[in-house]
């Protein structure tokens, strides 16, 4: 356990955020049990007032959760490596966290995605006077709730595993792959060309689907966009870490995602992985808006606009990612006339 201000800030933000989300979840449960938009009895009128309060609480809670997640990324990539002996970047920190760190991150990002989609529903809901999506968004919030609880729990566990006395072996896991064929994880065996091919193909498909969904918002185009924007980040992250990172680091092989966050590499990781996550959220957002827009005529128009905006974001962020990720490679190519591997 390390008592660092940023970890305390994360803990505080997490606790307050969780409190707000839980309180909103309680109200959401009530809404699912008792909501009756046709009735005008006491319970329904009171529930309408509470649903607005719950929505505000959940928004603040989600905001705090997103904030603490950002702080966590900063802590893991920038602050903790300086404290943990032998750690140079996030890899070492994750080693010290022994699996709980990875789980916490995965859960947090899934939860953030769900909370983002909830937030979208909530916003669409509030564009209409009577809030036709109140029940749906309550359901959405309840789906995101366990992720928030578990993610925060795993964060606490991961942080409590940090130890200033126990050294870690930061990059060993990354570069002892060579001459050690039997213990390679499967993705290390995929040739670079496949990564790049997958990256380019899914990227172009994603952009095409995004443009289509922007020009003609509809279920089909949005579904395609959603599918690609869920596949693409994996291909893109793979291509970035396995192939393109070499140009960011200017070394032949250093497939470490965390060093990208270091100031030595212009903290480009925040931008690249941020764009990736944003793009990942935008596709499902476009699909979700279209679906609820078609189901509830009261919000059809704002949902359409929202869907187009999400499609545009998906396209924009993926283009930004592609440019940001491959720029050093192109620069190298222009400067030297060859790729770094010769």
């Amino acid at each position: 356990m390390i008592a660092h201000p940023i970890l305390m800030a994360i803990g505080m933000a997490d606790l307050f955020g969780l409190g707000l989300i839980l309180s909103a979840g309680w109200i959401a449960g009530d809404i699912l049990l008792h909501w009756n938009s046709d009735g005008r009895d006491r319970r329904q009128i009171a529930l309408e007032a509470r649903s607005e309060r719950g929505g505000a609480e959940a928004r603040w809670g989600a905001g705090l959760f997103a904030f603490s997640t950002l702080l966590l990324v900063i802590a893991v990539t920038r602050i903790l490596p300086e404290l943990i002996p032998g750690a140079m970047c996030g890899t070492g920190v994750f080693q010290a966290m022994q699996g709980a760190g990875f789980r916490a991150f995965a859960l947090r990002f899934i939860t953030l995605l769900l909370l983002f989609l909830w937030h979208l529903l909530d916003r669409l809901n509030r564009t209409s006077r009577r809030g036709p999506l109140t029940e749906t968004s309550a359901r959405g919030l309840l789906i995101a709730l366990p992720g928030a609880v578990l993610g925060i729990f795993d964060t606490f566990k991961a942080v409590s595993l940090l130890d200033l006395e126990r050294p870690v072996d930061c990059c060993a896991a990354l570069y002892d792959r060579f001459g050690n064929g039997n213990s390679l994880p499967f993705w290390e065996n995929i040739p670079d060309a496949f990564w790049m091919g997958g990256f380019m193909v899914t990227g172009i498909l994603l952009i095409a689907a995004g443009v289509w969904s922007f020009l003609r918002p509809g279920r089909k185009s949005a579904a395609l966009l959603a599918i690609f924007s869920l596949i693409w980040p994996f291909a893109a992250a793979g291509a970035l870490v396995q192939v393109l990172s070499a140009y960011h680091y200017q070394v032949l092989s250093h497939s470490c995602p965390w060093c990208l966050f270091l100031p030595e590499h212009w903290r480009v990781g925040f931008f690249l992985f941020g764009a990736l996550l944003g793009g990942m959220a935008a596709g499902p957002a476009a699909l979700l808006s279209i679906i609820v827009g078609q189901r509830y005529p009261a919000i059809r128009e704002p949902a359409r606009i929202m869907s187009r905006r999400a499609s545009a974001w998906a396209v924009l962020l993926s283009i930004l990612f592609i440019i940001g990720a491959s720029f050093p490679a192109l620069l190298w190519r222009l400067r030297h006339g060859v790729w770094i591997g010769g």
Binding site: P85, G86, A87, M88, G92, P167, V168, D169, C170, C171, A172, Y175, D176, F178, G179, N180, S183, M196, M200, G203, I204, I207, V211, F214, Y249, Q250, V251, L252, S253, H254, C256, C259, E264, H265, A312, V315, I319, I322, I323, S326, L330, W332, R333, R335, H336, G337, V338, W339, I340, G341, G342
Partner: protein, 188 residues
């Protein structure tokens, strides 16, 4: 108006993507110069000492070597290029697999330089006695420690312990895995 501008942006971005894809697919003319990581700005000096400049990157882990001066080490190639490393581990890995990390063949390797543990004096890594599995921590975890002679080894063993010792010439992948704990083997 606004819409058409967005389309313009979209089109130009698409063009960028297509062009970059073109580069990637058809751009593979291969020559040796310019491939591989950048060597250090300055090579070893006449006495064989390292001259690390700011911005010299460790070709294995991409760290700025000048920030980790105590464990800095180097490999000189026959073509005159010298690579600087942030730690001894990175140097040994490159010595074993120059094709992976340096973009050079094994017969290109000329001289590995390390700083002897107790004195910090530069020496040929092939002459050093190496120690693994002590309590000494380098910039990236448990360090591989180069010692000058048997007397130093004795002192070192007393002070820090040593699970294994080796010479650089004996080093190969199998031994590496044994020493770094990838496979359990008994110490000789």
């Amino acid at each position: 108006m606004k819409k058409s501008r967005f389309r313009q942006i979209l089109c130009s971005s698409l063009c960028t993507v297509v062009i970059s894809a073109f580069f990637f697919i058809f751009g593979g003319g291969i020559t040796a110069a310019g491939s591989g990581p950048q060597p250090g700005k300055m090579g070893l000096d006449e006495a064989g000492r390292m001259q690390v400049s700011d911005g010299d990157r460790c070709p294995v882990c991409a760290m700025n070597v000048i920030k980790h001066p105590k464990f800095a080490s180097a490999i000189q190639l026959k073509d005159g290029r010298t690579f600087y490393f942030c730690g001894t581990g990175c140097m040994i890995r490159s010595w074993l697999h120059p094709e992976v990390f340096l973009g050079a063949e094994k017969d290109q390797l000329q001289k590995p330089v390390v700083k002897a543990y107790f004195t910090g004096k530069e020496m040929d890594a092939r002459e050093a006695i190496w120690v693994a599995g002590s309590d000494v921590i380098g910039p990236m975890g448990p360090a591989l420690v180069p010692l000058k002679d048997e007397a130093e080894l004795e002192t070192f063993r007393e002070r820090h312990g040593a699970k294994a010792t080796f010479r650089l010439s004996e080093m190969d992948d199998e031994k590496w895995q044994a020493i770094t704990g990838k496979k359990a083997v008994k110490e000789k």
